[in-house]
Amino acid sequence: MKVRFTVNGHAATVEGDAEMRLLDALRDVLHLTGTKEGCGEGECGACTVLLDGLPVNSCLVLAAQAEGREVLTIEGLADGPRLHPIQQAFVDAGAVQCGFCTPGFVMSTYALLRDHPAPSEEEILTALEGNLCRCTGYVRIVDAVKRAAVQLAETRLGEARARARETA
């Protein structure tokens, strides 16, 4: 069967059988290998992508279920050579060790900070509860989320000021 959806802003068509998971469509067909498979059972979150803006485990979504929808993966975040502030915060905070779980954490963080620009500690932990990391002990990851929130807030403030200046 053929499935059409949008990936990182671009139209994509994948062909495969009904069992094909969104994860397989991304990795094997579209060669977007930033999304990882850690368990195939929805426990580790390494395969987290955003489906119509919501974090999901792409190992628990059939490719067919993405028909007509929008998918955002880790490859869709950076603006050319410039890292997304969340990605930059993960590097700066030391939140990356082996890096295998990192794309999933970054995607979960992306959804969190879009909905909660200034999250509480509890909100951060809850947003990350579906992502497992075995290297870091999570301390630096939580730190990265906080740094990213601050950075994004500063960017927004800067943009608002620039707009205000333009109108003035």
């Binding site: 069967m1 059988d17 009904a18 069992e19 998971r21 195939g40 059972e41 929805g42 426990e43 979150g45 987290t48 489906l51 919501l54 974090p55 999901v56 485990n57 190992c59 628990l60 979504v61 059939l62 067919a64 279920q65 028909e67 979960s108 959804a111 932990l125 809850t126 947003a127 509860e129 579906g130 992502n131």
Partner: protein, 280 residues
């Protein structure tokens, strides 16, 4: 070879589910795992995500109707649900994780009929009804009468849950939910206990108790409830209610804990709830 069938209307849904080997694909968070490990081998997966009757949250006075294909995260975010069924929100908040809640549904969680189905606890306590639909028409079944055993329900071939109806109930319930697991996040319960209590001047007007993972199905703890009705919540009454609750469950030994532990914790948590309610 497996087929994926997306349906847009209930008529199409009924039709598709009638086929041999057809399986309703709700959130897929349990089903796809079972399929990959070879536990189930459906011939077709019927995706009802686009069927309007199965989606959304409606209110009528104090009552709620939740379409079974509504993602859990949508229910969790609903102000209406929070006002009318706060305990449901408390439970969904610790069901799975963000990624699971964005896909998982009440219909899937219930139809799965796991003894550990967390969402059943508040629905049992609120005495919700399930709107079932199938080839022979629609029928309403109380949640308490839905489960038959692990993985077994009253659903007939071709039948599905259309919606969950939660009737209006007291405003002054004292709610309780506690899940014992090995860790905080994404944990399947070793035992979970929920309760609603209406207390007036130290006396229990009405108490409802429900437990998960401690019997073949999630269940209400009726003998403890009956014992408590109208009684003053003193130490002895509470201890006795705990003992009754522990006696009412029929847990098993499994990879998560032993039956003995589950029984003990059931009693202890009922006591904890009642002590809190008495002090409130």
């Amino acid at each position: 070879m497996l087929r994926y069938v997306r349906v847009d209307t209930e008529a199409e849904l009924l039709d598709a589910l009638r086929k041999d080997g057809a399986q309703l694909l709700s959130g897929g968070t349990d089903l796809l795992v079972k399929m990959r490990s070879g536990l189930v081998r459906p011939k077709s997966l019927v995706d009802p995500a686009a069927v309007a009757e199965l989606r959304g949250i409606e209110t009528a006075g104090g009552a709620l109707r939740i379409g079974t294909a509504t993602p859990l995260s949508e229910i969790l975010a609903s102000k209406e649900v929070r006002e009318r069924a706060p305990l449901l929100v408390d439970v969904l908040r610790v069901l799975g994780c963000v990624q699971i809640r964005n896909r998982g549904t009440l219909g899937g969680n219930l139809a799965n009929a796991s003894p550990a189905a967390d969402s059943a606890i508040p629905l049992l306590l609120y005495e919700a009804n399930l709107e079932l639909a199938g080839g022979d028409g629609a029928r309403n079944v109380p949640v308490g009468g839905f489960f038959l055993g692990p993985g077994r329900t009253v659903l007939q071939h071709g039948e599905y849950i259309r919606a969950v109806r939660i009737p209006a109930s007291r405003q002054n319930w004292i709610p309780f939910f506690h899940k014992v697991g090995r860790r905080r996040a994404l944990t399947i319960a070793i035992a979970s206990i929920g309760g609603l209590a209406a207390v007036s001047q130290g006396r229990a007007t009405e108490v409802r108790l429900a437990a998960g993972s401690v019997a073949p199905i999630p269940l209400r703890l009726k003998s403890a409830e009956e014992w408590l009705a109208g009684r003053a919540l003193d130490r002895e009454t509470i201890q006795h209610a705990g003992a009754l609750a522990a006696g009412e469950v029929s847990p098993i030994d499994d990879v998560r804990a032993t039956a003995a532990y589950r029984r003990a914790v059931t009693g202890d948590l009922v006591v904890r709830f009642l002590e809190g309610a008495a002090a409130a």
